[in-house]
């Protein structure tokens, strides 16, 4: 089954880190990505630019409405995602627990929708 791991964390936490700590944190993500690849579970994933770079778009009464900023303001922001392919939720959960974001933020695990037929 395919699952998306959505990584939520407080963005401001990153800028507060000393350069050496930032480097160590980035290395942890690299190692995690590598481990996912080695296990044959990695399907894709990326870190995202901060929410300051986000734009929301919707159509209201036929006119597109564009707003600066993310869809939902919250203490934690979506900062990246992984797309993985594993046998079941237990496997997805154990990958989520290993993700560095689980230690300094939250990882949401969602199965991909599979169209019937």
């Amino acid at each position: 089954m395919q699952y998306i791991l959505m990584l939520y964390a407080n963005e401001s936490g990153w800028s507060k880190l000393a350069p050496a700590e930032q480097k160590r944190a980035a290395a942890a993500y690299e190692a995690y990505t590598e481990a996912l690849k080695k296990a044959g579970a990695f399907k894709g994933g990326s870190r995202l630019q901060p929410v300051a770079a986000a734009t929301t778009v919707r159509i209201v009464n036929g006119k597109s409405q564009v707003l600066d900023g993310p869809y939902a303001e919250s203490k934690e922001q979506l900062g990246g995602y992984y797309l993985i392919d594993v046998p079941d939720l237990d496997a997805a959960m154990s990958w989520a627990a290993r993700c560095p974001a689980a230690s300094h933020g939250i990882v949401e695990v969602r199965p991909l929708f599979v169209a019937p037929g």
């Binding site: 046998p87 939720l89 237990d90 199965p111 037929g117």
Partner: protein, 417 residues
């Protein structure tokens, strides 16, 4: 035999198989597809067929296999009705493979343990795990479960449906967890069963049939779990704890239906068979050498029973067990009971002091046993006014009428000196 007798026999056989094998058949049908709802639908159609077929053609030699064959055919029909194309074909293939394995004389593999772990999965809402087990493993209907858990059948039905969809959509596996994750995952299953069992205690007099049945059914679940995991001491400990509590059910009410605390119960009313079974389980558990919450709670029950039966005070052991339990759980509830045991050793003042450490814990403000214990202790030390107030709060928080009356009686016995 008259037609009526045949009917009765067919129904009795179907009932017996349902009781014994429902969970086994659901587990087998749903293990690969993870579609519990479809497995249950197929099985209930199979039971309906049995009730028309068996009176006519006689009960089959292997009713389980008969039901499985029919249920599997129904499952394919259901899959065909619900889906089309590749997904349905894949599902039919899976069902067919398993069917062949079952039909070739093999005994139906018992996957109920895997089913219990799926129902008690941490990804499911905490409160629905026990109801789900009762329905999926034992075959209880939503209406019965709802009344046992004091909710409406419609609400319970919706929550059960949602949980089953989550199992299927989120890919919750039907699998006994690996050794390293087993203890944690087993805890959530044990907690779910115990929560359902304590729910049944709102009517310890056993006057409410639904609630008495809930106690019986949860004991059945705990027994099944202990049978399937004979080397897991906490599974044995939970069953021991539940059997101890069940053994004293009758003694907790007097002839007038009033609540009788443990210290005043008549041990002759206790069920010795259940107590012996609980003791044997605790011995087996302790031989496995891994202590845990449920074994300690079972051991405490055992210590109370021993004291009341022999008249030998064993309070130091009791306090020790509470210390161990408190270290393990950090639960304020345990701390309250520990304080009450300390009273027996060092008096009410010492007990109040032990309990005083808990006061900042806001969770206790609406916890009845805290106020009841506090009232008892204050009364003993002669702080009548404070005791009166504590009883007042305890009475206001109690939902069991008999216990409420018991507390009111205690309160009225307070005499200012």
């Amino acid at each position: 035999m008259s037609g009526r007798d045949v009917d009765t026999r067919a129904r009795a056989t179907a009932d017996a198989v349902a009781r014994r094998s429902y969970g086994k058949l659901v587990a087998f049908l749903a293990a690969r597809t993870r579609d519990v709802a479809a497995a249950e639908d197929a099985l209930s159609e199979a039971f309906a067929s049995a009730l028309t077929d068996w009176p006519e053609n006689g009960c089959p030699l292997n009713p389980e296999a008969w039901l499985l064959t029919v249920a599997r055919r129904k499952a394919i029909d259901i899959a065909r009705r619900r889906r089309s194309g590749e997904a349905a074909a894949a599902q039919r293939q899976l069902l067919a493979e398993e069917f062949v394995a079952a039909a070739e004389g093999e005994a139906i593999p018992d996957q109920r343990l895997a089913l219990m772990f799926a129902c008690g999965h941490p990804a499911l809402e905490t409160g629905i795990r026990a109801p789900l087990m009762l329905q999926v493993v034992l075959g209880l209907d939503a209406k019965t479960i709802a009344s046992a858990f004091l909710t409406s059948p419609a609400t319970m039905g919706k929550r059960l449906v949602r949980a089953k969809s989550k199992i299927r959509q989120a890919g919750i596996p039907f699998r006994v967890p690996e050794r390293e994750e087993l203890p944690g995952r087993l805890d959530t299953v044990l907690d779910a069963i115990y929560a359902a069992f304590t729910e049944s205690w709102t009517d310890p007099g056993g006057t409410d049939v639904v609630r008495r049945d809930l106690a019986e059914e949860t004991i059945y679940l705990a027994t099944l779990l202990a049978d399937l995991l004979p080397a897991e001491p906490e599974a044995l400990g939970l069953l021991a704890l539940m059997l101890h509590a069940e053994a004293r059910r009758r003694a907790r009410r007097n002839a007038e239906g009033e609540y009788v605390p443990l210290a005043e119960q008549d041990p002759a009313l206790w069920n010795s068979q259940l107590i012996d079974a609980a003791e044997a389980l605790l011995r087996r558990a302790s031989a496995l050498g891994r202590i845990g919450r449920y074994q300690l709670e079972g051991a405490l029950q055992s210590a109370h029973v021993y004291r009341r039966r022999t008249g030998l005070a064993n309070w130091p052991e009791v306090v020790q067990l509470y210390d161990a339990l408190l270290a393990l759980s950090g639960s304020p509830v345990v701390a309250i009971n520990r304080a009450l045991a300390i009273r027996e050793l060092h008096g009410a003042a010492a007990a109040l002091e032990a309990m005083q450490e808990l006061v900042p814990d806001m969770r206790l403000n609406d916890y009845q046993p805290y106020w009841a214990a506090r009232a008892e202790l204050l009364a003993t030390t002669g702080a009548i006014g404070a005791a009166h107030h504590a009883y007042e709060v305890a009475i206001g928080l109690e939902r069991d009428v008999a216990v409420r009356r018991f507390l009111q009686r205690r309160q009225s016995m307070l005499t200012p000196d």
